[in-house]
Amino acid sequence: MSVVYINIFLAFTLSFMGLLIYRSHLMSSLLCLEGMMLSLFVMMTVTILANHFTLASMTPIILLVFAACEAALGLSLLVMISSTYGTDYVQNLNLLQC
């Protein structure tokens, strides 16, 4: 396996850590989610192109479609939060009080 995969795994892990650790904005966690999707796309495409899995080339496109749908869902949630509280700070999300 070539060495490029280590860096792409590392990129996925870094944006996964960024997704789990909250700071102040919800928007930056959504950006880390997009980063995870991007690194998964690159890893999948590099594997498919290096091993000549021709018919599997449709899976990065399908991944992109579903990543776009989930980004739209996340953004609509953020717009609802922002219209209720004024900003998208995660400290406002305390209805459950836990």
């Binding site: 700071r23 928007m27 192109l49 290096a50």
Partner: protein, 161 residues
């Protein structure tokens, strides 16, 4: 002399691009203000497109860069303009962001130095990675004048229905 150095660099272009890919991921994972995170996500998307293009996937690289990134980042830009603050945080204005950025950079530099240490070094985490060239592609012969990944994507409508 410049041509000689460019000739040496071109065999490691994929590794260099993947290092810049990780550095730009650190740039938005250390969570500055979302405006700057969005800008760095554009750069990392462009570098990821470059990695895909250097393996010969021209259709997929252009697909992710032109269509996916353009669509996503226009929407992200508008949403960030709704929910942003008056003084956005840069990477150097907050100790937590700066510390996270330095930690991410150090981990990538350590990984890159360990990989570049020798020519026969093998890195085994769960799988085995070797340095047998950055772009090891199995040679299955010439496929003619059409691009096989574009044919694979077009097969979504014939085999993939």
């Amino acid at each position: 002399m410049v041509r000689f150095h460019v000739g040496i660099m071109m065999t490691y272009i994929v590794f260099i691009l993947s290092v810049i890919f990780v550095v730009s991921f650190v740039g938005f994972s250390s969570k500055p203000s979302p405006i700057y995170g969005g800008l760095v996500l554009i750069i990392s998307g462009a570098i990821g497109c470059g990695i895909v293009l250097s393996f010969g996937g021209s259709f997929l690289g252009l697909m992710v860069f032109l269509i996916y990134l353009r669509g996503m980042l226009v929407v992200f830009g508008y949403t960030t303009a709704i929910a942003t603050e008056q003084y956005p945080e840069v990477w150097v204005s907050n100790k937590a962001v700066f510390g996270a950025f330095i930690v991410g950079l150090l981990s990538e530099l350590l990984t890159a130095c360990y990989i570049l240490k020798g020519d026969d070094v093998e890195v085994e985490v769960v799988l085995k990675f070797n340095r047998a060239g950055d772009r090891v592609i199995y040679d299955t012969g010439d496929t003619g004048f059409f691009s096989e990944e574009a044919m694979g994507i077009a097969a979504l409508y014939s085999y993939g229905t």
